[in-house]
């Protein structure tokens, strides 16, 4: 299983990072992503769902429905063991890349 590649426009690694902290549903993921990136990452909200479904298809996350009183039930996503491993590898790879980029750019 290869880790998601931010350099290919796939923000699956960011989703794995969020879901690595706790189980979340789509709307919550969008809100967290926007809040933590101080709205720098502000893609159309719907784009998070194909990305989540791809992670699910690839076995990196699993989903379950949770009933909510007075509101539509929610589909929560959590990392699988493979997802945790992909997150660890992806995070290391990303840090290596940013360190190298900092050295080149003098950050």
């Amino acid at each position: 299983m290869t880790a998601p590649r931010l350099d290919r426009g796939d923000y699956g690694l960011l989703l794995l990072g969020l879901l690595g902290e706790r189980e979340m549903y789509g709307y919550e993921v969008v809100s967290e992503l926007r809040a933590r990136s101080t709205a720098v990452i502000d893609l159309p909200e719907g784009t998070v769902y194909p990305a989540l479904r791809r992670l699910e298809r690839d076995g990196l996350v699993r989903a379950r429905w949770v009933d909510v009183e007075g509101a539509p039930r929610r589909r929560y996503y959590a990392l699988t063991t493979a997802g945790e491993r992909a997150l660890t590898e992806g995070r290391e790879s990303w840090h290596r890349f940013t360190r190298a980029a900092d050295q080149v750019l003098g950050g």
């Binding site: 159309p44 194909p50 791809r54 539509p72």
Partner: protein, 445 residues
């Protein structure tokens, strides 16, 4: 304030969201097993966003529109889901051709006629694949099945895409209508049976559809206005699907099927011996007459593989090969003629089995030169033509005038199905291997 017949704002908003989510899920062609699940998830997200916008003071209608805008373009999201739920190949081909289109206004009535014609075209293509696949020679059959199924797939896709406002499907259907018209006119001009008249139903349908299209052209343009471009590659693939079924016949008329025997795969030898002896002509025996023995031997090194297709492998629907000769007197003015005393039915030299009859058979008789057709020809069963087998036929002739006649030369011809013609000319004591005469040269004469 709403009237009794007007829907409540919440219902209007729900309808808008329903239609939006449906456009995404339909456009992505989400598999049935995941449809309901995904629809509920997307609907839940948008509903929560509507509540958040409404809480900030927006009206339900404005909050709904804002939530949909926040969520993203239906077509782009459908594409992203298509790539998630399907293979990359599917997403880049069928996913593009059947992408959801935002349709403004009702569906024009001409779409129904266009879809009917595409359904008929798809049936024709499926029928073509079955007929050619079952009755053509192996390579032709496989090529035909591929070409016709390819066209069938394109017709079926066009049928579906016409319902979703894809512009490509409108042009594709127009091309099919033109094809129907041209094919029908060609069939009337070139009937299978000379003098027969075929009612060109395809032409009538194609013309009717084009008439309906021209009458509603502005509405059809508007109906497909939201459709994106499909790209040069897919356009080429669609054009190919129209052309390939039309090309199979002409191409294989020029390029022979490699699984079929060629003239080089059979040695056809004509041998003529001349002597004197008894001649029994209808019970009357005369002695010391000139006698001419003509022998044909066709030795097959490689026979056809399924020459009449898979379906007819046991019972060929047509006859096989034909062979015959033409006496060529040394002097046309001498008035001498040679009559057939007796002939031997064609036999397989390996086991002596009779493999033909006195006469000729279609389609090979059509290749025999004019002077031979109607003469003392033999027909050979197609099942007798096998690798390593030799077929032999012979004729005994004598001059009609008991007085000494000039020994003639004889031109023998052997025709294999409708494939090739081999001809040789022999004289007394000669044996000659027949050589191929191009069919076009034979027909030109």
């Amino acid at each position: 304030m709403t009237g009794p017949d007007e829907p409540a704002p919440a219902t209007e908003a729900e309808g808008l969201v329903d239609a939006y989510v449906k456009a995404i899920v339909d456009g992505a062609h989400v598999p049935h097993g995941a449809r309901e699940d995904l629809t509920e998830e997307l609907f839940g997200h948008i509903a929560e966003r509507i509540r958040a916008h409404a809480a900030s003071g927006l009206s339900v209608a404005a909050a709904t529109q804002r939530a949909i805008d926040d969520f993203g373009g239906a077509e782009e999201l459908a594409g992203a889901f298509g790539r998630t739920f399907h293979s990359a190949l599917w997403a880049s081909t069928i996913g593009v051709l059947l992408a959801g289109v935002a349709i403004d206004g009702p569906r024009p009535g001409a779409i129904r006629w266009l879809r009917l014609m595409m359904a008929i075209a798809a049936l024709f293509m499926a029928g073509g694949a079955i007929v050619f696949g079952a009755t053509a020679t192996p390579v032709v059959a496989v090529s035909s099945v591929v070409a016709y199924l390819y066209a069938f797939g394109a017709c079926a896709l066009a049928y579906r895409a016409l319902g979703t406002g894809q512009r490509w499907s409108l042009w594709y259907a127009i091309a099919v209508a033109i094809d129907f018209i041209v094919s029908g006119v060609w069939m009337v001009a070139n009937p299978a049976t000379p003098g027969a008249f075929t009612v060109p139903l395809g032409t009538l349908l194609g013309a009717g559809v084009l008439l309906a299209v021209s009458g509603q052209w502005a509405r059809l343009r508007a109906y497909t206005a939201g459709s994106g471009r499909i790209g040069a590659g897919l356009t080429a693939a669609l054009v190919s699907s129209l052309i390939l079924p039309l090309l199979v016949g002409p191409v294989f008329a020029v390029v022979p099927d490699p699984t079929q025997a060629r003239a080089a795969d059979v040695d056809v030898r004509w041998t003529m011996t001349c002597d004197r002896g008894d001649v029994d002509a209808g019970g009357t025996v005369t002695h010391d007459r000139q006698r001419l023995h003509l022998v044909l031997e066709a030795a097959w090194r490689r026979a056809d593989l399924l020459p009449f297709g898979l379906m007819n492998r046991e019972n060929p629907p047509v006859g096989g090969d034909s062979a015959g000769y033409q006496v060529q007197p040394a002097s046309e003015l001498s008035g001498e003629s040679w009559f057939l005393v007796t002939n031997e039915d064609p036999v397989d030299t390996l086991d002596g089995a009779v493999v033909g009859w006195y006469g000729a058979t279609a389609p090979s008789e059509g290749l025999l030169p004019p002077g031979i057709i109607g003469g003392y020809t033999v027909a050979i069963e197609p099942s007798a033509i096998r690798d390593g087998h030799t077929i032999r036929a012979s004729w005994l002739m004598a001059p009609s005038d008991p007085q000494d006649a000039e020994w003639p030369r004889i031109r023998g011809a052997y025709a294999h199905l409708d494939r090739f013609l081999l001809v040789a000319t022999v004289g007394c004591g000669e044996s000659a291997q027949a050589v191929e005469v191009p069919i076009w040269a034979r027909l030109a004469r």
